[in-house]
Amino acid sequence: SGDSAPLEEAMAVLQHHDAVSGTSRQLVANDYARLLAAGWRPGQVLLSNALARLSGSKEAFSICPELNISVCPLSQTSARFQVAIYNPLARKVDRMVRLPVSAGAFLVKDPSGHAVPSDVLLLPQPEGQKPSPELLFSASVPALGFSIYSVARVSLQNPKAHSPERIPQKSR
């Protein structure tokens, strides 16, 4: 069973000005991180249970806290997956969703099964590394509610992926 209390307690401790402003000693910062991680785990279970109940289906839900650096093991390794998007605002929100994926073309469907426009972007990586593909699509989420989008890799002869183009500049 899930529990939100450890995360709530960690957040209460992290109201301290040292945690907010980052002025703590390194060993204290490490302890703040430990508290957050310990609170995160049972919180994630609670969230999964709530989503299973609301969506009517038990799933191995996975949260990707490293999406800001384009890391999400489930979307990067699966040919087919679902994306549940929860909107905490009391008004409808349209949002671009960006997910790291494996190479290929993808079909994204909205909650009513209609295909939505999507792009695969190939982002530049440090030299010697392969470009990392990211799937981009627009999602619409109701007020204080969630939408579930489904993503599936499709086989295309020539899947189209967009790469950033280098702009020639005078050498300096």
Binding site: S57, E59, S62, R80, I167
Partner: protein, 281 residues
């Protein structure tokens, strides 16, 4: 055409192809144009001087000089244009890069910056800022929020309740920015929304800056007992600034709604799909 442009239905951002830097933002609906130069700079952290032995540290921001140094005067750029997004990838140095992004239907410009690990091999502590320079005549005023609630009017080298003897021309004009900072000339307003609390200021009319990262070599003797210096190679941070150009009369509605969307952003949970039906038991 000699310029590089990304554009959607509402905004056009123009870049100088020589320097790779942002040089103009246009609001196409309201027909507003604002020349904006944005780049990254760093303040050399003070180690104490003849006026005061106070070094810059975790609690105290005290730069050595008034003028920050540019991380680079130009950026290597790449451009990506798709039906859903247009991006300019700017690489300023090995430790500083940025993506300027415009999604379809979006009324703001997104600047996603990545800074770090800050090199300190030269034995200089560094405090890195993102600075926006515009020709707006702001008459010494700028605005910052207080915990995302009240917007407070700030005036350079001035305090409303006492006669200020400004001894720190840079740090003495820095204020907390929890969600937003803006400058205006009474007609146009340039607002920058942050995704985390940062220090910010306007040290010149028409200019606006936010501190995005810092790495320091000395303790400031205020109780922490150690310098703000991560172990190993140092930390790197990624965040974003959302930039809005608006007419003064409509700016508040724009930045309030956008800040709400950013602070209470939708949360994503992924699942492989095909799970068993949920039973309350």
């Amino acid at each position: 055409t000699g310029v590089l442009v990304i554009q959607n239905e509402y905004i056009r951002a123009t870049f100088n192809p020589e320097t790779g830097l942002l040089m103009q933002i246009e609001d196409l609906e309201q027909k507003l144009v604002l020349p904006v130069s944005q780049a990254f700079f760093w303040y050399n952290a003070s180690t104490g001087d003849e006026r005061s032995g106070q070094p810059s540290g975790a609690y105290i921001f005290r730069p050595y000089g008034l003028k920050p140094l540019p991380v680079s005067r130009w950026a290597q750029i790449r451009v990506l244009k798709t039906p859903l997004v247009q991006e300019v990838h700017q690489n300023f140095s090995a430790w500083c890069s940025q993506v300027v992004r415009l999604y379809r239907g979006q009324r703001h410009l997104e600047l996603e910056w990545t800074v770090g690990p800050i090199p300190v091999g030269d034995k200089w502590g560094k405090e890195v800022i993102s600075r926006f320079d515009t020709p707006l005549d702001t008459k010494g005023y700028f605005y910052t929020d207080s915990n995302g609630r009240e917007i407070l009017k700030r005036r350079r080298n001035y305090r409303p309740t006492w006669k200020l003897n400004q001894t720190e021309p840079v740090a003495g004009n820095y204020y907390p920015v929890n969600t937003r900072i803006y400058i205006t000339d009474g007609k146009k307003q340039l607002t920058v929304l942050t995704d985390r609390s940062q220090g910010g200021s306007s040290l010149q009319d028409g200019s606006l800056e936010l501190m995005v990262h810092r790495r320091l070599l000395l303790d400031d003797n205020r109780g922490v007992g150690e310098p703000l210096l991560e172990e190993g190679s140092g930390s790197w941070v990624r965040g974003h600034h959302l930039v809005l150009l608006d007419a003064v009369g409509t700016a508040a509605a724009g930045h309030r709604l956008l800040a709400e969307k950013d602070v209470l952003a939708p949360q994503m949970v992924l699942a492989p799909g095909g799970g068993a039906p949920y039973q309350p038991g």
